[in-house]
């Protein structure tokens, strides 16, 4: 179990780092777009693409980060009265019965389309935009695999945060 937990931890830090980078690029990209548009009445299509694609990366990468840090919304009317053991059981069954099938459906449907986009070298819809649009289409599949890893690590790891 230990090597897996170490691996999951490492993945979490990677994901968090990339999410921070995406947040930074999204904020700076969008702010510079605004500055250029209102200050100098011009803009670069690739810059708008950068803001928009880094937002996509942020929104997606944030999902496994929230899972690893227990940041997702829960309805805790009953949960707050449950024992730690019952809470872990709930998370265990939710992961096996719900997260894994959901991740399978998302991977199975988005993967072929991402591959097709890569084969067709799909680029941005705007002229002068960024290449590599397939990477955005691949994100949900990657992120849901990461989410499964983090969910498993959550109930496999000794918990000291509850």
């Amino acid at each position: 179990m230990k090597p897996f937990l170490t691996f999951a931890r490492w993945l979490h830090h990677m994901t968090l780092g990339l999410a921070f980078l995406a947040l930074l690029l999204c904020l700076c990209g969008q702010a510079i777009v605004v500055l250029l548009r209102y200050g100098f009445s011009f803009g670069f299509p690739w810059l708008s693409d950068m803001a928009s694609w880094s937002f996509a990366a942020l929104a997606m990468l944030a999902i496994p980060v929230a899972l690893a840090t227990d940041g997702h919304v829960r309805i805790d009317i009953f949960r707050e009265r449950q024992t730690g053991r019952l809470r872990i059981m709930t998370d265990y069954w939710a992961t096996c019965l719900l997260l894994v099938p959901l991740a399978c459906v998302i991977v199975a449907t988005t993967w072929p389309q991402a591959v097709a986009a890569y084969a067709g070298s799909e680029t941005s819809l705007q002229a002068g935009g960024l290449p590599g649009h397939w990477a955005i289409r691949l994100l949900p599949a990657i992120v849901f695999i990461l989410a499964v890893v983090q969910a498993v690590a959550r109930f496999a790891a000794p918990r000291n945060d509850e």
């Binding site: 968090l16 969008q30 929104a59 009317i77 959901l102 949900p140």
Partner: protein
């Protein structure tokens, strides 16, 4: 059809039970429909090929230019909160109005209005307001329940006063439903409903609520100073002229930031996304210049808050789009159409029933879940019956804002409880009651006079 009906009727209670189990809500909302769809597929009632629509829906979420505003507004609020700026603002206000209970309460209300436009995150605002303002309020002779009610209600204003994340998400769903209902009527060139429209529409209703709260305070709160000795003593650097200078120095920059962000959206100069990026960048500059925390840890904490909250919101948005896909695949939308059409009294009664459903769901669900589950299912039918989308959106937003205050599960009440352990739960509920009535009164006024919501967007 009979079998479809069975699965639709299975789907919603199954999601509800899974939600109440306390698991991550997005798993209940997105995972349960997948399982139900699989079972329905095995029995021949669901076309599994519909799942192929998921990638397009995901791309639609990831590349939606309006949703970029969501993490940026969260970041703006988080920076104001984590840098100590919000704390300074509340501190300056409390010092300036110390002594008179009524004046202090009114100034806390005014400050909440400003904070509402910067942070818009209910939990952070209430915890902060409570920690800083509650001792002063109690010292000025305001009862615990009155203070609790005011702080909880003020903290929810961020949901209705633009720019608010609730309104951004609502506009996303309202505009989809609106265009869909117009296409169904053969209108292919209908005007879209934008986030800017909703910001403009919610502005006056937000002020109306502040006005109602203010009248309540003015007429029901005592004005006496209980015993000045118990009050927070003005600290040495806050005497006389210095106080006025510090007051402006602390409050003016955030107010200017809010006016810039909100004004540029309402004036139609900037889109909410553009304004959000300027707002977030401006908040970081303010934090660097005026914050009382060192900048690097502040930015790290604010960034982490933003990422976690963004993950929580987008997980639910994605899950809800899976739910609505399955719901439609099972023809549940036709069922809702039929139900809404069968309600006697036409569109008005259908709208009233929907508002009641949202109000009840608000007792135990978060606004993101309600917006993404209820609006796509119910709104097209209402729009087809002639309900104005902007007016409808404001009614829903006020309704959702009220749900933060309703016991036993109103989130604002929980947040207050975590920040003020010394106030018993029953006192908090008693204090919140008048504001729930004021909210319903405000909702009634917007219902009776739709112009309160539709006048400003029409003007701009």
């Amino acid at each position: 059809m009979a079998e479809n009906l069975f699965f639709v009727l299975l789907l919603l209670p199954a999601v509800l039970v899974a939600l109440l189990s306390g698991m991550n809500a997005f798993l209940a909302i997105g995972g349960v429909p997948v399982i139900v769809a699989m079972i329905a597929w095995l029995s021949g009632s669901f076309d599994i090929a519909l799942f192929n629509a998921i990638p397009a829906r995901l791309t639609g979420i990831m590349e939606n230019p309006v949703l970029i505003a969501v993490p940026l507004f969260i970041l703006m609020g988080s920076v104001v909160d984590r840098s100590g700026l919000a704390q300074q603002m509340i501190g300056a206000m409390t010092n300036a109005a110390a002594g008179s209970g009524r004046r202090l309460s009114l100034s806390i209300l005014a400050l909440s209005g400003i904070l509402a436009a910067t942070t818009g995150v209910v939990g952070a605002t209430i915890v902060m307001l409570t920690a800083i303002a509650l001792p002063g309020m109690l010292a000025a002779g305001i009862t615990k329940s009155r203070a609790a009610g005011l702080l909880c209600a003020s903290g929810t204003l961020g949901q209705i006063i633009p720019p608010s994340i609730l309104l951004v998400l609502l506009s996303d769903q309202i505009s989809n439903s609106w265009l869909e209902s117009q296409r169904a009527n053969g209108q292919f060139a209908a005007d879209p409903v934008t986030a800017s429209d909703l910001f403009a529409a919610a502005f006056l209703p937000g002020l109306l609520l502040i006005l109602l709260y203010g009248l309540w305070i003015a007429f029901s709160f005592p004005n006496g100073t209980k015993n000045a000795h118990d009050g927070p003593k003005p600290s040495a650097d806050n005497d006389g002229r210095n106080l006025g200078g510090k007051f402006l120095e602390v409050l003016l920059p955030p107010i200017l930031l809010v006016i810039g962000v909100l004004g540029s959206i309402l004036a139609g100069i900037a889109t909410p996304t553009e304004a959000a990026s300027v707002g977030a960048a401006g908040a970081i500059v303010l934090a660097a210049v005026q914050g009382n925390q060192s900048l690097a840890p502040t930015l790290y904490q604010a960034g982490l808050d933003t990422i976690r909250l963004t993950g929580a919101i987008f997980a639910i948005i994605i899950a809800a789009s899976v739910l609505s896909l399955v719901f439609r695949g099972l023809e549940g939308d036709l069922l809702v159409y039929a139900l809404l059409a069968d309600i006697p009294g036409g569109a008005g009664m259908a709208l009233a029933s929907l508002m009641l459903v949202v109000f009840i769901l608000g007792f135990f669900m978060e606004f993101v879940e309600i917006i993404y589950i209820v609006i796509p299912v119910a709104a097209p039918a209402l729009f087809a019956a002639g309900v104005d989308p902007v007016w409808f959106a404001v009614l829903v937003a006020m309704n959702l804002q009220t749900s933060f205050l309703t016991p036993p599960f109103g989130l604002a009440l929980f947040y207050f409880r975590t920040a003020a352990a010394q106030v018993p739960t029953l006192e908090i509920w008693r204090g919140a009651a008048p504001y729930i009535i004021l909210q319903i009164a405000g909702l009634g006024l917007v219902w009776a006079f739709p112009e309160i919501a539709t006048w400003l967007p029409g003007l701009l």
